[in-house]
């Protein structure tokens, strides 16, 4: 019985949200195979940690979106993923370091990231680095050579612009 209920819940979540979660994963991870692995990890994580989801803190989707983003960022930070990128023949994928990310924002924006294309360049770069690549404010400040406080203010204002675009 429990299993049936689980199956039904899984079906519901998968049917309704796998596409949205797959979208966010693909805007962080560029390889399809890896994105598939991450989606699998995400659903396993959702399953394991569903008890830690607290409805008082936010919507179920917000929680799942964060699970997906964290899993995808963990993946792009992993050594295996970094190595696999180096073996690819496409030169633009060789270096995913922060410096390169700043100068060459990826043009193939998919999923939620599509919305970013409507932001000003300066704001887009900051959201890309912090949200889609998971760099801390400190790392960004160092890489772009701007004060930490400024990074924070600019990210906040970029987020506010983003919100206006979502509405």
């Amino acid at each position: 019985m429990l299993q049936q209920r689980n199956d039904r819940a899984f079906n519901y979540l998968y049917e309704n949200y796998s596409g949205a979660l797959y979208g966010i994963i693909n805007s962080i991870v560029s390889q399809k195979e890896t994105a598939n692995d991450v989606l699998q990890e995400v659903f396993i994580n959702i399953w394991r940690k569903i008890e830690s989801y607290d409805p008082a803190k936010g919507k179920l989707f917000t929680w799942m979106l964060n699970v997906a983003r964290n899993a995808a960022i963990d993946k792009i930070r992993s050594k295996a993923y970094q190595d696999s990128l180096k073996n690819q023949s496409f030169p633009e994928n060789v270096d995913k370091g922060i410096g390169n990310a700043v100068t060459n924002p990826k043009p193939n924006d998919v999923g939620l990231k599509k919305i970013l294309t409507r932001l000003k360049d300066e704001q887009r770069v900051l959201i890309d680095l912090s949200y889609f690549q998971g760099f801390t404010h400190e790392e960004i400040a160092k890489a772009l050579n701007i004060p930490l406080g400024t990074v924070k203010t600019r990210i906040r204002s970029a987020l506010t612009s983003l919100k206006t675009m979502l509405q």
Partner: protein, 247 residues
């Protein structure tokens, strides 16, 4: 920073998207519990974010679902355990039953807890709604005049509205945006009649969004204004004027 400024500071997006620091998160959670308008703005952003994510969804490969389902089915493991004779099988069956039982108990308890929380949230929302409905009725009665009070030069962002019932002479005040006063200060509402200020009462700022404050009754008035006075107020305005508007 007042509540409106806090709402539009980008903290909501930061929190929801998981970019806020631990310190910002706990501050935000306490703001949410104190200021329903913060919570409301957060819920609106979550809603918009979910919608945007669904609009920008990418369908995963069709065969992935089955693969993932197999991974998340915890019972699949028990069924496929190698069995050694009848007692082995029985043991596995008993173990499976116990796991099922424990699982379903856990499930029930957690559902029960979630249900309680939802119930409490619902009650709070219903109370807020009932209050807002009562307020809406009060200001939409016929004969209610409205004075929009705009910010003065010292605080152009400020904005408040007075609703004056010409029949009952009841006065209601809605604070759309006023800076948070220092702890020893308080806003005071004045009615202006032939250039003379009449005390309309002190403003006890509440946490609720779009709250209507019931002020003193006014027999006649041509305009309304709010000044910032010492706590408890003054018989005539001494402090700076923040907003003013004519009927």
């Amino acid at each position: 920073m007042n509540v409106q400024e806090y709402i539009s500071s980008g903290i909501i997006e930061s929190y929801v998207l998981g970019l806020a620091s631990a310190e910002e998160r706990s501050e935000f959670e306490s703001m949410c519990s104190q200021h329903p308008e913060v919570l409301q703005a957060k819920m609106a952003f979550e809603e918009a974010l979910e919608k945007a994510a669904l609009q920008n969804a990418i369908a995963p490969p069709a065969d992935l679902k089955e693969k993932i389902l197999n991974k998340v089915q915890p019972l699949a493991k028990i069924v496929s355990l190698p069995s050694s004779g009848k007692t082995g099988l029985l043991r596995i069956a008993v173990a499976a039953c116990l796991i099922l039982l424990a699982g379903s108990l856990y499930w029930n308890v957690s559902l029960y807890n979630k249900n309680k929380k939802t119930q409490a949230d619902l009650e709070i929302s219903q109370q807020t709604l009932a209050q807002m409905e009562a307020d809406a009725k009060a200001i939409h009665r016929s004969g209610v005049k409205m004075a929009r009070m705009d910010g003065t030069a010292i605080s152009p962002q400020s904005y408040a509205t007075v609703y004056w019932d010409t029949t009952s002479h009841d006065v209601y005040l809605m604070v759309n945006n006023l800076p948070t006063p220092a702890s020893d200060q308080q806003y005071q509402l004045w009615a202006l009649l032939d250039g003379k200020p009449i005390d309309m009462g002190m403003l006890e700022i509440s946490e609720k969004p779009l709250q209507l404050y019931r002020m003193k009754n006014a027999q006649r008035a041509q305009a309304f204004a709010i000044t910032l006075e010492k706590k408890g107020g003054n018989p005539t305005p001494k402090g700076l004027m923040y907003v003013m508007g004519k009927l």
